[in-house]
């Protein structure tokens, strides 16, 4: 509740399109507020007030952003620090700065297991199935979402219901029958990660279909109708109109799939049976022996190395949201 109030306070007197925005985006017209600028003395005073307010608002925004940001980033900072500590220091202090630093964690992290697998190879393994998964998931989900959101066909509502129902059963109870199925196909231990990749081609991730449908439904049909009159067929409409319109959503799907698939542990554990083919999620845990004990700094160091691409990918993919404005802003 207090969060919401806070929101209102900070946003009350702010302008949503400050200068930086105008410089950047060429398509946006001058905002009315700036348009009225420097007309009279009163306006000048009002303008000065506005500047002060704007300053305060900017300050408040940054204050909130940095405060919340610190809480968000702290664990990562702690992990970095802890990767340089020994076991006893990791559990005896919350201070991220190591007192007696050791490089053993990182030294051991890059060690290989009998030449079979090391952190770099495991990361390559991860992306060798994650990337196909992402591409196939996005393509198949966009097709399915388009079909459900824009067309009525025989059995539409029942099939839609069935699709949504797939969200509701916990994966735990599906694991065993699914394993038996893949075992019948002879895909268990497949060196091409078939049980992980193939289902992605068939829109098996309901979350994404549902998400794309929701975004699609927010988009008015007028553009498609006029494109149809211009002679575009349904596929052309999908590629030329729909996909650009919901690009932020498509990018979100790709991002989520990328993050979730590269964090998946139980899937690879069930279906990958050779250490040389192990992905990073399994590699990170390889050294963890609950009975004899293990070096936490090594586990933390491998974890850190293996999540770096995810952080970088997220950072890079954000630009897609910015571009998304031009698409979403087309609405008349």
């Amino acid at each position: 509740m207090s969060i919401e109030n806070n929101n209102i306070e900070t946003s009350e007197k702010t302008d949503i399109t400050p200068k930086a925005d105008i410089k950047k985006s060429d398509k946006v017209e001058m905002t009315p507020v700036l348009g009225k600028k420097s007309l009279s003395k009163e306006a000048k005073r009002a303008n000065r007030n506005l500047m002060v307010r704007r300053g305060i608002n900017t300050f408040l925004r940054y204050f909130v952003l940095i405060l919340v940001g610190a809480i968000m980033i702290y664990p990562l900072i702690w992990m970095v620090g802890a990767a340089f500590k020994n076991n006893s220091e990791i559990f005896s202090s919350m201070n991220p700065i190591p007192i007696k630093g050791t490089l053993d964690g990182f030294k051991n992290a890059v060690k290989s297991y009998g030449g079979n697998i090391n952190i770099w190879k495991s990361m390559l393994n991860t992306y060798s199935y994650v990337i196909p998964q992402v591409i196939l998931t996005v393509v198949s989900s966009v097709l399915t979402a388009y079909g459900f959101a824009r067309f009525k066909f025989v059995g539409h509502d029942i099939l839609f219901g069935l699709m949504m129902a797939m969200l509701f059963l916990p994966q735990v109870v599906l694991n065993v029958p699914q394993y038996m199925l893949f075992n019948k196909f002879g895909w268990v231990g497949s060196e091409h990660y078939l049980p992980l990749i193939v289902p992605a081609a068939f829109a098996t991730e309901t979350y994404f279909i549902f998400m794309l449908i929701q975004f699609l439904r927010g988009v008015p049909k007028e553009l498609e109708e006029s494109a149809q009159i211009d002679g575009c067929n349904v596929f052309q409409i999908l590629i030329k109109i729909i996909v650009p319109m919901i690009m932020p959503a498509v990018v979100s799907c790709a991002l989520f799939k990328f993050m979730w698939a590269s964090n998946d542990f139980i899937g690879p554990l069930l279906y990958v049976k050779t250490p040389a083919k192990y992905p990073a999620t399994i590699f990170v845990k390889l050294s963890m022996d609950s009975d004899a004990g293990f070096d936490w700094n090594r586990v933390l160091a491998t974890s850190l190395i293996s999540i770096m691409p995810n952080i970088l990918v997220f950072f890079a993919a954000q630009n897609q949201f910015i571009e998304g404005i031009s698409a979403g802003g087309v609405k008349g």
């Binding site: 006893s88 394993y179 268990v188 050779t274």
Partner: protein, 460 residues
């Protein structure tokens, strides 16, 4: 495809031979020689069975295990040495951490798709081999796998419902106490050797060191084991016997629970709410243990290394204690190796196992990565090479000196042991003094629930 290789078992007593050297040497041999001409490099055959046992097929076998870093490294090295020694046998390995390993294994067993050679847990015989068709009866390959290296009583524990030898015991383990000598010294005490001394230490700790200092720390499962030890000392029988019968009554369990309560009351052990307050899932992750506030643990003889490492610079403070005379211990097979009943190459699988477990060369490489070796030949070699953690060896000795009783794997049944199972709920609620709904939870309720939990588990 069926090529026969002639080769005597290499039982090089010369441990000085380095692994890599050995491996390379053999690889060269592989390249240089063809089929029938492989010769034995050494004639010394300490552990070698009959001569025709040396014959084998060229094949690929699969092998998997779980564990940590050093176990992975040692086992891989041993497998490589095996492949070098028996050219033509290719071993495909798979290994991982314990976390969720059993989930994956269970799924494999369900679909009948498991590797030829596997590291197995003692209770898996009951769980996954209930009908005796999952694991090969190792007696059928005893011409290759030397079972005489094992204590008969220990071997007998790894038998399935049909009397088949479902696994070969790699090591045997039991529990004893470990004490933080420095904390006891600070309290002006020496480490306890019997129950009275321990009980007396509680108040001294409280007075001299403070409320947050305890001579011993035990969680829910530890408490269940301690109750078993306590009651076994009184009955002289294993708490669950060979016929899957509970040998104690509900009243006995009540006495056991009272014993735990008396430890809490005397400030010997912290309460479960106090433990939950820190939330460490084992003591090596507990700040209080690392600081020396908890001066004793009750642990497996295979585990001291992680506690020593947790204590950091003060690792030397941890010393092994004896199993108190007022308690009657048990020991159990900690790990086994098994062969899949479906394997197409039982003989070669057995050869691999024999190499890893009994062959001085293989055993030396495997060292004590799976506990102190049960195989006599392996123990000699590993012990002579000084590859046994001294603390672990000492703890193992204490366990064995306490004349451990039989242990029934049903003691660890999922109905009893587990996050939402009997041991956790009973000992937790008993220590909190209330149940999940907030109403009071007394000794009678706890004893009844514990008893019913046992009955429920044994009824299966």
């Amino acid at each position: 495809m069926k090529k026969k290789f002639l080769s005597a078992f290499l039982a090089t007593a010369m441990l000085a031979t380095s692994l890599t050297g050995c491996g390379e040497e053999k690889k060269e041999t592989t390249e240089a020689t063809t089929a029938a001409t492989t010769e034995a490099a050494a004639g010394d055959t300490t552990a070698a069975p009959a001569d025709d046992a040396a014959a084998y097929d060229e094949c690929t076998i699969t092998f998997d295990w779980w564990g940590g870093d050093s176990r992975h490294e040692a086992t891989q090295a041993a497998v490589e040495a095996f492949e070098a020694k028996y050219p033509g046998i290719n071993v495909e390995i798979n290994f991982g951490a314990w976390s969720d390993w059993e989930t994956a294994k269970a799924t494999e067993y369900l679909s009948g798709n498991n590797p030829d050679v596997q590291q197995t847990n003692f209770d898996w015989i009951g769980k996954y081999d209930a009908d005796g068709t999952t694991y090969l009866d190792l007696n059928t390959v005893s011409d290759v796998l030397d079972l005489t290296q094992y204590d008969e009583a220990t071997l007998a524990k790894c038998v399935d419902s049909k009397g088949g030898q479902a696994g070969v015991p790699v090591s045997v383990t039991g529990r004893t106490f470990y004490w933080n000598e420095a904390t006891f010294e600070a309290a002006g005490l020496s480490v306890p050797t019997n129950l009275d001394e321990l009980m007396a230490a509680g108040p001294v700790f409280k007075d001299k060191l403070g409320d947050n200092y305890y001579p011993l720390v035990i969680g829910e499962y530890d408490r269940a084991i301690l109750v078993a030890f306590y009651l076994q000392a009184q009955t002289g029988k294993p708490i669950i016997d060979e016929n899957n019968q509970l040998t104690v009554t509900q009243d006995d369990l009540k006495k056991g629970l009272e014993f735990i309560k008396s430890l809490e009351d005397a400030h010997v052990i912290p309460t479960i709410p106090y433990l939950d307050g820190e939330g460490a899932d084992s003591m090596d992750k507990s700040q209080r243990f690392i600081n020396g506030e908890y001066a004793g643990i009750f642990e497996w003889d295979s585990s001291p290394a992680k506690y020593v490492s947790a204590l950091g610079d003060n690792g030397d403070d941890l010393v092994v204690g004896n199993v108190f005379p007022e308690l009657q211990s048990y020991s159990k097979v900690s790990l086994m190796f098994s062969i899949s009943a479906d394997t197409e190459h039982p003989r070669e699988c057995a050869m691999l196992l024999n190499y890893l477990l009994n062959d001085p060369e293989g055993a030396a490489i495997m060292a004590s990565e799976r506990g102190i070796p049960e195989s006599k030949a392996a123990y000699e070699v590993v012990n002579a090479a000084g590859k046994i953690n001294p603390l672990s060896a000492q703890a193992h000795e204490e366990v064995m000196n306490s004349n451990p009783l039989y242990w029934n794997p049903l003691f660890d049944s999922s109905k009893l042991k587990g996050d939402t199972s009997t041991y956790t709920t009973v000992f937790e609620q008993f220590s909190y003094g209330m149940d999940a709904a907030g109403s009071s939870y007394d000794l009678d309720k706890a004893a009844a629930d514990l008893y019913n939990g046992y009955m429920d588990a044994l009824a299966q």
